[in-house]
């Protein structure tokens, strides 16, 4: 059940997106986040959605994994879009007690929904196609300037890649713990939110204890394999920008220009 969570996982493959330089993917992702929040009308929203879709298709990851990654945040999307419907200003088209629905509110709800979904899909696309090691190498590269002020860049990126590595392992462990507690009569499914949250304590306590024990083991294993921090370390996969990355950058630049032009020439709806 918990294992269904696809978010943050890596699916090895050989698609164009897989072969993009992880730094390029990261930079494009950051640019994308900016674009998606700069889209103020349906044309530019459409452009960014199409841009997202293009990357998803090129990644050659089965659509079901993208759907799975969205399943987790469906609830958040629903809540935020509901709030937005009632927070609009302007002409009221429907009213009940303190709840007012306006066209502005409906537009806002649509935008929020599309934006969150695009964000999740794009970040899933990034993590699905980039191995955590590559991802952290890229982040390490991007944070490098910070090492001037003695920011522990390598340590942070190592921690991130270890965290990503152990997501599935800890998920499996959670499943086992839930099964173990259920078999002793723990009730996880009934009762109100507070009761259910309380029922999670007997899962979380052993999970944390074992996570600490694992951390100790991992530290030993890393030391056994001559780990001694970032100094003098090399990487099997060297990062290099290629024509493919240049093409991706140009595409991103075109999308940004498109969105900006649409913002200028098409009236914004929110």
């Amino acid at each position: 059940m918990v294992r269904d969570v696809a978010f943050g996982q890596y699916f090895p493959g050989n698609s164009i997106i897989h072969r993009l330089d992880p730094r390029a993917k990261n930079l494009i992702f950051i640019a994308f986040v900016v674009i998606i929040f700069c889209a103020f009308n349906y044309v530019s929203l459409g452009i960014t959605a199409a841009f997202t879709l293009l990357f998803l298709i090129l990644s050659r990851i089965p659509a079901k994994f993208y759907f799975k990654s969205m399943k987790v945040i469906l609830f958040i999307v629903l809540i935020t879009s509901l709030f937005n419907i009632f927070y609009g200003t302007g002409d009221v088209i429907w009213q009940w007690w303190i709840f007012k629905v306006t066209w502005n509110g409906i537009h806002r709800a649509v935008f929020v929904t599309v934006r969150i979904i695009c964000l999740i899909l794009a970040s899933s696309c990034l993590t699905f196609t980039t191995s955590p090691t590559e991802l952290t190498n890229a982040i390490e590269w991007m944070m490098k300037p910070l090492s001037v002020i003695h920011f522990p860049v390598h340590e942070i990126s190592m921690m991130m890649s270890l965290a990503l590595r152990f997501i599935p392992t800890l998920m499996e462990e959670t499943d086992k713990l839930i099964a173990a507690q259920k078999s002793r009569g723990a009730d996880m499914e009934s009762g109100n939110v507070f009761k259910r949250a309380k029922a999670l304590i007997p899962i979380l306590v052993p999970l944390f204890v074992s996570a600490f024990r694992r951390a100790y083991d991992i530290a030993t294993a890393m030391e056994c394999r001559c780990y001694r921090g970032g100094a003098g370390r090399t990487s099997m996969k060297t990062l290099s920008f290629s024509a493919r990355d240049a093409a991706a950058f140009i595409l991103t630049a075109i999308t940004i220009c498109g969105v900006i032009l649409c913002n200028i020439f098409v009236t914004s709806v929110i």
Binding site: P12, S161, L164, P168, D217, C224, R225, R228, T234
Partner: protein, 281 residues
């Protein structure tokens, strides 16, 4: 001096100033391991065998006594990483020693730490994965592998450092029988074909039988050592210290006890069948 020389080592996890009567985990052990040898260290839980394993690559340092690896003293801090390059240690839990999310990246972790050139790392990773028969799985995620496969990846991770010796601390304790078999076959192959020195810490007697030399530990001391046949012939001594012997040896021992004339104690099921054949004829 032999490749690894353990000289009268004492070690205790307790702080002697707080608890002077605490029992030593390793209590005066001396042991020499030659290059290319396959040594199995057996004993039940808490006998100090795992503690001893951690002394082989300077993860633990002796309270008194010395451990030399290829002539280098482990207690000299400057030697720690040279020693870890020479002696790779594989731990018990396969899940907790794989650090990357892709098999080949995990195997690359060791050489990356040593600052090896990228092309050379690639070569070492491929060689190491082929040596343990996991090359086809190089792009898989570790959590999708079986226990035996994970442990073989862990062995490959150590091999990529190109050590002269691998020490394994109960590598099969958390595996099912087929996983145990995979790991044992890999170790025997490494020892016989690549001349790798192997120190296997285990509590499975069936695994110890396959070694060149068996060292039996009990409460921090070496109880007895010798070839598997020499060791497992001492059924009474092992029994007295609540240690198992291979079923074949025990059967022969009991038959001998009830007056059957048996010359040499068998170690494996095949030898046992042969022996029974001779006796019955």
């Amino acid at each position: 001096m032999d490749f690894i020389s353990i000289q009268n080592v004492f070690f205790s996890y307790a702080d002697p100033s707080e608890n002077p009567n605490a029992q030593n985990a390793v209590d005066g052990v001396s042991l020499d391991i030659k290059k290319g040898e396959f040594v199995a260290v057996i004993g039940h839980n808490g006998c100090g065998k795992s503690t001893l394993a951690k002394h082989l690559n300077a993860m633990l340092l002796p309270d008194s006594g010395k451990v030399y690896v290829d002539g280098d003293d482990t207690s000299d801090e400057n030697n720690a990483y040279t020693i870890r390059e020479k002696v790779g240690l594989v731990l018990q839990n396969p899940d907790n020693q794989l650090v990357a999310s892709v098999v080949e990246e995990d195997v690359a972790f060791g050489p990356e730490n040593l600052g090896v050139e990228p092309a050379e790392i690639r070569q070492r990773v491929d060689d190491a994965l082929k040596a343990v028969g996991m090359y086809e799985y190089r792009l898989k995620a570790p959590h999708k592998l079986s226990g035996g496969q994970k442990q073989r990846v862990a062995i490959a991770g150590v091999l990529a450092i190109q050590p002269q010796c691998i020490a394994l601390d109960e590598p099969t304790a958390m595996l099912d029988p087929s996983g145990r078999d995979e790991v044992m076959k890999t170790l025997i192959k490494l020892n016989r074909e690549m001349g790798m020195t192997v120190v296997l810490i285990t509590h499975y007697m069936e695994e110890a039988v396959k070694a060149d030399r068996v060292v039996v530990m009990d409460s921090g001391k070496i109880l007895t050592q010798g070839t598997p046949r020499e060791v497992f012939s001492q059924v009474e001594l092992l029994k007295k210290h609540r240690l198992d012997v291979p079923q074949a040896s025990e059967l022969a021992f009991r038959l001998r006890g009830s007056g059957v004339n048996i010359q040499s104690i068998p170690l494996t099921a095949e030898e046992c069948a042969e022996m029974l054949g001779e006796v019955l004829v």
